[in-house]
Amino acid sequence: MTVAALPETTARRRRSPLTEAIRRHPTVTAGLAIMAVLVAMAVLAPYLWTIDPMKLDPRFRLKPPSERNWFGTDHLGRDLYSRVIYGSRVSLQVGLAVAVVATLIGTAIGLVAGFLRWVDALVMRVMDGLMAVPGVLLAIALMALTRASLETVVIAIVIPEVPRVVRLVRSVVLTLREQAFVEAAEAIGTRFHRVLAKHILPNAVAPLIVQATYICASAMILEAILSFLGAGTPPTIPSWGNIMAEGRQYVRVAFWLLGFPGLFLTLTVLAVNLLGDGLRDMLDPRMRRRL
């Protein structure tokens, strides 16, 4: 008889679950912590505002950070702190929406492409075509076709991001369908939809989650770029990109107009990337075989 698996060594020093998590997955914890603060900021924005972010006040134009205006004011005397807080909502909404929508659409197309040869040839050429155009350019072109709103921004960013997911899912499907356990599933009479749901998708989830976080980060940057170029979020909504675009011409006298929104954008993207990197490391060993 084969010897039963040895019980795992339980002689681990006693630590609280939190310290244990930090020790084992420091990047995920750091990313999660920053994200938690940013999400809280976005959700609680109405309570964190000190001054209405839309309110113009010509008496306080281009003021440096002070006790009244923590991050200073812009050229119309609007409070930068409140605007930056509000801007986090746009970034997080766009990042999350793009990540979810692009992942869902990309997964659906990728699954079909991975299984059906003739669809594959057609779809992948279209995807290659989309990838040949730089994402920013494509998004600007798409924005030019429609009226500026948060939804159109999301759509304009989703379209250039979809091919990345399609390529990933397709390659995962092509690898998995050659695996013996997928052949075994057919041999034991598993129907096609169940093969997809139980054998293919669960094994594709780990790389998909990681890819989704990277898409989330790049969507936030793309949104800021679009807004900065005046092709994104309508100027009536304060987004980090909008604030930086408007502040660009005053940067010599008011560095804070670029500094604060830029800092927050950097922090957010960093947090999402840390999360993605950490998740990849966390999920990978489980995929690998251990004996």
């Binding site: 084969t2 010897v3 013996a180 356990f181 075994a184 041999a187 034991i188 009479g189 139980k198 669960p202």
Partner: protein, 328 residues
């Protein structure tokens, strides 16, 4: 003769002129097209309760033959009869009812189990697919199967990576048994295991055969293993069966020069034993362009002019002993 008598007389599995070619290359700007003749016309039959060993070097097409018989691959030509029914041209949906009677055990116990399903789900899935039991009945049946293959029933909640190689292969066997098939195609089921574990798995397979009256098509490259489990052995070379004989007869009196060479390559238990037979030189020719005439003539120590021109047919020389060689 009545229909039922005809069925009783026909073998469980009957394979005639089975061919599986793969077309590679082609397409826009691709490499020129070529045909890999993985399986190039094989005939054999397998009776109920019997084990037929299918041996040959890597790349001789034995695994492809197994997968084609299972209809995981579509045959290029030839027929496959399972209990008298021709399954060679069936669609995936039409094939489904026949899968209950024909199961498979794979070579690699690691990649043949879904890492995201626990052991109970893996073994219970075939029953779920055919709606053979309610959820609670299934649990009991899975537990029974676990015990039958020598696994603890409480390990049902564990995932494949928590099992050893031998235990994983036991899981694969339990999954194959779940549908109570008549035929199990064993695709090198022990090649990936340690020698000590190999013996346990082989003994388990023999034991299960006796309890359930199973038939095995046992694909392997290890002659010692095949000798132990099979009643008859077919030797494959480059997509063709070159010799087919009862196990004792084949090992005592090999007729084909390739079989002789294979037997000579088996390590001897006594290192002082004198080796008289020459070992083969060179590699297996490419199945894309197999040599004309006898496929073995490029490596055969006895080849004559005729062997390079004429392809020998598989002909019977003694009761149940067939060989494809001009010289025997």
């Amino acid at each position: 003769m009545t229909a039922s008598m005809a069925q009783a007389a026909s073998p469980l599995l009957d394979v005639r002129g089975l061919v599986k070619h793969f077309v590679i290359g082609g397409g826009f700007l691709g490499k020129p097209k070529a045909t890999v003749r993985a399986v190039d016309g094989i005939d054999f039959s397998l009776n109920a309760g019997e084990t037929l060993g299918l041996v040959g070097e890597s790349g001789c097409g034995k695994s492809t033959a197994g997968k084609t018989i299972l209809r995981l691959l579509a045959p290029t030509s030839g027929t496959i009869h399972l209990r008298g029914a021709d399954i060679s041209g069936l669609s995936k949906a039409e094939m489904r009812p026949y899968r209950r009677d024909m199961q498979v055990i794979f070579q690699d116990p690691y990649s043949s189990l879904n890492p995201r399903m626990n052991a109970g789900e893996i073994v219970g899935e075939p029953m779920l697919n055919y709606g053979l039991a309610t959820a609670s009945e299934r649990r009991g049946k899975v537990a029974e199967l676990f015990q039958r293959v020598g696994l603890r029933a409480d390990s049902m909640v564990k995932y494949p990576h928590e099992f050893s190689g031998g235990q994983r292969q036991r899981l694969g066997i339990a999954r194959a048994l779940a549908l109570q098939p008549g035929l199990i195609i064993c695709d090198e089921p022990v090649s990936a295991l340690d020698v000590s574990v190999q013996a346990q798995i082989i003994n388990l397979l023999i034991d299960l055969q006796q309890s359930f009256g199973l038939s095995y098509l046992f694909i392997a490259h290890d002659l010692a293993v095949v000798q132990h489990i099979s009643q008859r052995v077919a030797v494959m070379y480059l997509g063709k069966i070159v010799e087919l004989a009862p196990t004792g007869e084949l090992f005592a009196n090999p007729l084909h020069p390739y079989t002789e060479a294979l037997l000579a390559a088996v390590p001897a238990a006594n290192p002082k034993e004198r080796r008289t037979r020459a070992l083969l030189t060179g590699d297996v020719p490419s199945p894309i362009s197999p040599p004309p005439g006898c496929r073995f003539h490029t490596r055969c120590p006895h080849a004559e002019a005729r062997c390079k021109l004429e392809e020998p047919a598989l002909k019977q020389t003694a009761a149940g002993h067939s060989v494809a060689c001009h010289l025997r």
